[in-house]
């Protein structure tokens, strides 16, 4: 699942997933909507999975030093 260019936010996606779970649990959706939203949530979770896995695979930090080297 590709993230679209406009800043994909982990937080926002997680919030959407939580919202869908709550809706399904509330039991007020009809069955077709349940399937539809379940699919959406699974897609979102896949995006999160990709994001987190990418991070975990990094072994180290990307460190950058700002500015000119001052004499210490």
């Amino acid at each position: 699942m590709k993230r679209n260019q406009s800043k994909w936010s982990y937080e926002a996606t997680v919030a959407e997933i939580e919202a869908i779970i709550t809706q399904i649990e509330a039991g007020e959706l009809n069955l077709e909507e349940v399937f539809e939203r379940f699919n959406t949530a699974v897609n979102h979770l896949q995006q999160c999975e990709t994001f987190l896995q990418e991070r975990r695979q990094q072994m180290t930090l990307l460190i950058e030093k700002l500015g000119e080297e001052p004499e210490f």
Binding site: I17, I21, I24, A41, L45, L52, R55, M59, G67
Partner: protein
């Protein structure tokens, strides 16, 4: 000067006590240096009287003492009260007390010396900045929950930097960390820190800034109480986490920062979430979704099963059989009734046929009756209107006979007529 200085070229003049004392008094009290003098020392004893506070100031290095007095009226104007054991800086003038042959320092200002002085300066700056609202809790910003780039202002040589790096790489490998180096102690530290913060802002990528150094002596931490540093933090465009190792009070940098903690490690922990924890939450979320979906599905399936069972329990078989039987019964009844009717009709018809047969004129004719007709074909039923000589036709079973009337006789009058009529 009310008297002349003694002339040392001449043999010494013997002075009176008063004269000498007066000389000393003038000497001391009129000396420019001593009319307003700053002196530092340690307060060794103090006693409070109605008229004022009397205390002794000791030289910490030499066994020398100076008696001091603060008049009651002046006491409240002092920044601090001289307390035995404390190092102080006093402002006053030397007075001579002729009656006791003493000189004393009349004090009108007292300041804490050494650490105390720094503490006073700290206090004053803190009060001023607090009044401006810089430490207001309402000003504090929330930290971004999931930054992708963070900045660290510290000395690259400091142990703090190592701690931060270790903590960050454990928690969130792949994080982009911008190190903006700064001096964290010494006279150049405040400017260095301010420049480092500005560098981070100019770069613009960082979402949160950690300002950190490990613990150290109080004097070494002075830069974090510097006004320029405090203002730079207050005006920083991104949230600032102060992770400055301390033993005692918080520095002003701590107070103005959006969050402050006691170690560089703690600062790094606050700055980024733990990826492993996030992943666990993520997996839990996935399970949660699946469970919710499954539960909902099971609910629908249960409903379906329930309805199916109800459906099955309906006595349809029995009903169908009953209905079948009922229909068969009706069918039988129908057939029976129709047969009956048919039978009745048949019987009736046979009856009618018989009747008809018996009414068949030909049978009657065969029995010997004849049909008499007039000339115009009209059937004769009565002898009236008949005349002798009329031509008649007699129809018999096997043909016709033309005859003529010879005689007419009414019924009952002659058996012969009837039998005549009948026998032909």
């Amino acid at each position: 000067m009310s008297f002349t200085q003694p002339n040392l070229l001449f043999p010494p003049t013997v002075l009176s006590v008063g004269g000498l004392t007066q000389y000393i008094q003038t000497l001391l009290e009129q000396d420019e240096e001593l009319m307003q003098v700053w002196v530092t020392g340690e307060v060794s004893s103090a006693s409070q009287h109605r008229s004022g506070l009397f205390f002794t100031l000791q030289d910490p290095d030499e066994r020398v003492a100076l008696r001091c007095i603060v008049w009651a009226s002046q006491l409240e104007k002092l920044s601090i009260l001289p307390v035995p054991g404390e190092q102080v800086i006093l402002l006053g003038r030397i007075r001579v007390y002729p009656q006791r042959g003493e000189y004393q320092l009349m004090v009108w200002q007292a300041l804490p010396a050494g650490e105390g002085l720094m503490a006073l300066r700290y206090r004053q700056l803190r009060d001023r900045l607090e009044a401006e609202g810089l430490f207001d809790p309402a000003r504090k910003r929330l930290l971004p929950p999931h930054p992708q780039t963070i900045a660290v202002v510290t000395s690259p040589q400091a142990a703090a930097w190592g701690d931060i790096q270790r903590t960050l790489s454990h928690r969130y490998p792949g994080l982009r960390v911008l190190l903006s180096p700064a001096l964290v102690q010494g006279d150049q530290a405040p400017d260095s820190i301010v420049a480092a913060i500005e560098r981070v802002q100019k770069d613009g990528r960082a979402e949160v800034l950690i300002l950190s150094r490990g613990g150290g002596a109080t004097e070494d931490m002075a830069c974090f109480n510097h006004e320029r540093v405090v203002r730079a933090i207050a005006e920083c465009s991104i949230p600032v986490i102060a992770g400055i190792g301390h033993q005692r009070d918080e520095s002003l940098a701590d107070l103005v920062a959006d969050v402050h903690v006691h170690t560089p490690t703690a600062a790094a922990q606050l700055a980024v979430p733990d990826l492993a924890e996030l992943y666990t939450e993520h997996c839990q979320r996935l399970n949660h979704l699946i469970t919710a979906g499954q539960t909902r599905l099971a609910l629908a399936q249960n409903q379906l099963q329930h309805q199916s069972r109800r459906l099955k329990r309906l006595p349809l078989e029995r009903q169908l059989v009953q209905e079948g039987r009922a229909i068969a019964h009706l069918k039988q009844q129908l057939i029976q009734t129709v047969n009956q009717q048919l039978q009745q009709r048949l019987t009736h018809q046979q009856l009618l046929a018989q009747k008809l047969q018996s009414l068949d004129p030909r049978a009657i004719l065969q029995r010997g009756y004849a049909i008499a007709r007039r000339q115009n074909g009209q059937i004769l039923r009565t002898i009236a209107a008949l005349q002798e000589g009329d031509d008649l036709t007699l129809q018999l079973s096997d043909g016709q006979v033309k005859v003529q009337v010879r005689e007419i006789m009414a019924a009952g009058t002659g058996h012969e007529a009837e039998s005549e009529q009948m026998e032909l």
